[in-house]
């Protein structure tokens, strides 16, 4: 008995002294890093996914994108808001308790001027504290989809934010640097150990997490190392340097599949890729044309008809994409078989439309494109340059990293740009409010259709599902006719994963380590 106890103690001591023996370390990579660790500063996929390991929201989604309780255990709709029962006994990484007051603070922070989550958070007009573990999120009238809009609004500790002077979110556009950019304090399954932007981010398992034992995941440590070069990224997977590549280049998928010890998982992604055309400004910044050709719907139609979506699918995407005529994919309420088909490919008609609009010889324009964000983003842009050249439009391509590309869109300083949009709420309101509403913070097209703006507001409070769906449909039909964007395709996700780890793939391209099992 005594001996047994001694043995247990010494084994425990050994484990503590030599943690590497027992640790499951998951090393993974993708092309770009999270832009900031501030949970309310940048509404961008990889940033949300990275912060989602450290911070948590009231409601989350599992790998099948079903709503799941996270920091709230249950919720209930009312006529003027939703009541959430908070999980009890939850602690932040620094030991502080998670209470109703943190929820109040987090929504205030997400609604701050510098926040990039305003379009989601502003649905919550105020937060009423009922008791320490019950809150009521007040809405402007009934809101049928509020839980869907909360999945990426992360909860942050009020005390920690006040102590570290980060009550307001980082102003990313102004390149502000705050304590919360490189440090974090959430309630999530992992805590930030070290952070070197664009080099290495290390997260360690939070032993005090509320969900400990409730999820299959057995990862102890996550090492994330962004690798910009696609070939280097695949080489790292092939050589065993990393266990998981989120975004292997599509042309290398076959090679990864045929390698021993490696596999590929694919799923249709909730993300559409498209070009935006600025029809709002009076004189384009980068064009030799007088005025703004994009003001003319014929020019916008010509651009849509000039892009050969099928060729991009076959040659650039290796078949891993679905050409489309919408900027939101199937799976999101609002995508319909009537509106989804692409505008088609007809360069002759496109050229005729340009001539009708007064540009028989075309014009020149700059295309702003990210080169480390979407599947083959720069190559899609290069293909578009060649296709538009055939109708006489001379496109100068400027492909730059996303950290410089996105501010151009948000500051509305681009004439013609590539953007991709995922929809965490699985509801069109998210697309309308960011990309189509005249005031949308990611709408650099200058497009503002009064009816679409009206519908964007109306569907927030419309609880009759049939009526609401009809309104959404109506708005998309207007958009389809107005053509503020050039939709290209919906992405298909392909993850390269080593056989010794089981990671469920999710259509929102987010890596969920709480479900990842290492063998």
């Amino acid at each position: 008995m005594h001996f047994k106890k001694l043995l247990t103690v010494s084994v425990a001591a050994l484990t503590v002294a030599n943690p590497a023996l027992a640790e499951n370390v998951l090393r993974w990579t993708s092309q770009g890093d999270a832009l900031t660790m501030d949970p309310h500063s940048q509404n961008e996929g990889p940033t949300i996914a990275m912060n989602g390991q450290i911070y948590e929201s009231l409601v989350t989604r599992d790998a099948e994108l079903n709503l799941q309780p996270e920091l709230a255990e249950s919720w209930e709709a009312g006529a003027d808001g939703w009541t959430f029962n908070l999980r009890k006994g939850v602690k932040f990484h620094d030991g502080a308790d998670f209470t109703a007051e943190d929820v109040v603070f987090s929504f205030e922070r997400a609604n701050h001027e510098a926040s990039d989550y305003k379009e989601q958070a502003k649905n919550v007009t105020s937060v009423e504290v009922i008791d320490d573990h019950t809150v009521k999120l007040m809405t402007d009238g009934p809101n049928p989809i509020l839980p869907n809009q909360l999945t990426s609004i992360y909860m942050i500790d009020k005390g920690w934010a006040e102590a570290n002077n980060v009550v307001a979110p980082q102003d990313f556009k102004a390149k502000e640097e705050t304590y919360a950019v490189r440090n974090s304090n959430g309630t999530g399954p992992f805590a930030l150990v070290s952070r070197a932007p664009d080099e290495m981010t290390v997260l360690a398992r939070n032993a005090d997490w509320w969900g400990e034992g409730m999820f299959p995941g057995n990862i102890d440590k996550i090492e994330y190392r962004p690798i910009t070069n696609a070939a280097t990224r695949v080489a790292a997977l092939l050589s065993g340097e990393v266990d998981f590549v989120l975004d292997p280049p599509l042309q290398d998928i076959k090679r990864i599949e045929s390698s021993d010890g490696l596999g590929v998982k694919t799923v249709a992604q909730i993300r559409s890729i498209f070009f935006g055309m600025d029809q709002g400004i009076d004189q384009l910044r980068t064009s030799d044309a007088e005025g703004n050709p994009f003001k003319d719907a014929k020019v916008r139609e010509a651009f849509n008809l000039a892009i050969d979506k099928a060729a991009i699918q076959r040659v650039v995407m290796e078949g891993l994409s679905f050409p489309t005529g919408m900027i939101t994919p199937p799976g999101v309420l609002g995508n319909t078989p009537e509106n989804d088909p692409s505008y088609g490919f007809d360069p002759t008609k496109a050229k005729a439309l340009l001539a009708e609009a007064g540009y028989p010889d075309g014009f020149s324009i700059q295309l702003d494109c990210p080169n480390n964000r979407y599947n083959n983003d720069e190559k899609i842009c290069q293909a578009a340059v060649a296709m538009l050249a055939k109708i006489g439009v001379k496109v100068n391509l400027d492909a730059i990293p996303k950290a410089q590309h996105f501010p151009k869109i948000q500051k509305r300083e681009t004439d013609f740009y590539m953007l991709g949009w995922g929809v965490p709420t699985l509801d069109s309101h998210y697309v309308f409010s960011y990309l189509l509403d005249g005031e949308g913070s990611w709408n650099a097209t200058g497009y503002s259709n009064p009816r679409v703006n009206e519908i964007t507001t109306a569907i927030v409070t419309e609880i009759d599902i049939d009526k609401r769906t009809a309104l959404i449909d109506e708005a998309w039909t207007h958009v389809k006719a107005d053509m503020p964007y050039v939709p290209i395709h919906h992405q298909v996700l392909a993850w390269g994963i080593a056989d010794n780890v089981d990671i469920p793939i999710a259509a929102d391209d987010a890596f969920r380590p709480r479900y990842a099992v290492m063998k």
């Binding site: 070939a231 080489a235 090679r255 060729a311 040659v315 290069q382 340059v385 296709m387 050249a389």
Partner: protein, 309 residues
């Protein structure tokens, strides 16, 4: 044949020691042949190449990633296959090689003009001027050339407004490589100048009161050109490699008007998927070109150096 028969021009030309050495060095002949064929092919690329890869309206994405003509799936009009954008590889290599050679030549000329000027002044004037110029050259030689080129290139790009960046990328690259090259030329020119400066004809020129710049330009400069020419030939090969390195690192010529280095970089992304021809043929073209220029430079060094003969 009579002894007193006047030599024909060809015979006199053949009798020239450099030509004699050239005609008796098979390596030099082969190198010169390859170099001139490569340079001619590249300079006349618009006439030879089946397509114009710089004209996006000639590209069809549907023809992308086709293998060379002799492999199954290849098409006869694309002899060496096509790249990921559907551009004919043979045409892109010819056009890309032209860019590489032009950038190399221009960079060497820039480095040569700068280096020889400073070197001759340094060697002729001496004293503080010499010390300052040579110390600057020494400091620059301690920094690896390619790093310096990346630095100059980065600064050059940062100063250009966005819309001009692509248009001027090629000049920035030339400038970057040329500026890293000059110390080699300066050192050689300075050495040669110091030897010449003590010879009688220079002293005579000085005594009759010719101004310094005139002596340097008309009397010393022509006599320093032999060693400079050798350096310039080898420098051309190095400049072509420097351009390819910059472009391979994504710092050089943009992919819309690719040079050989840009082509190798783009092709590199497709190596794992088995599309070897996108990177292989430009790489072979680069190797052959640089090797030929280097051989030529080696032979020149031997032929122009009286001590090695």
């Amino acid at each position: 044949m009579q002894q007193d028969h006047p030599m024909t021009r060809w015979e006199r030309f053949k009798d020239n020691d450099i030509v004699w050495s050239f005609l008796h060095s098979p390596g030099a002949i082969v190198a010169a042949a390859i170099t001139s064929i490569a340079i001619l092919a590249c300079l006349f690329a618009p006439l030879i190449a089946p397509f114009d890869p710089f004209d996006p309206s000639q590209i069809s994405l549907w023809d992308g990633k086709l293998p060379p003509a002799w492999i199954e799936g290849g098409q006869p009009q694309y002899l060496l296959g096509t790249d990921n954008q559907g551009r004919d590889m043979l045409s892109t290599i010819l056009y890309g090689g032209r860019l590489s050679i032009l950038v190399g030549l221009a960079a060497v000329c820039l480095g040569m003009v700068l280096g020889v000027t400073l070197g001759v002044i340094s060697g002729y004037v001496g004293g503080v001027t010499d010390a300052v110029i040579m110390r600057i050259a020494d400091v620059q030689l301690t920094i690896p050339g390619i790093l310096l080129a990346i630095l100059i290139n980065g600064i050059g790009r940062a100063f250009l407004p966005l819309e001009l960046r692509q248009e001027f990328a090629i000049y920035v690259v030339i400038f970057a490589i040329g500026l890293t090259d000059w110390p080699q030329f300066a050192r050689v020119a300075r050495g040669a100048t110091m030897v010449e400066a003590n010879k009688e004809y220079v002293q005579a020129a000085r005594i009759i009161g010719l101004p310094g710049w005139r002596i340097m330009l008309r009397h010393i400069l022509p006599n320093t050109l032999r060693p400079v020419l050798v350096i310039a030939t080898i420098g051309l090969a190095l400049a072509i490699i420097a351009e390819a390195t910059l472009s391979f690192l994504g710092q050089g010529i943009p992919p819309t008007t690719p040079s050989l280095g840009t082509l190798i970089r783009v092709g590199n992304e497709y190596l794992f998927s088995g599309l070897w021809w996108i990177t292989f043929f430009p790489a072979i073209a680069l190797v052959v070109l640089v090797f030929a220029v280097n051989l030529l430079g080696d032979w020149m060094r031997d032929a122009l150096n009286p001590k090695l003969r």
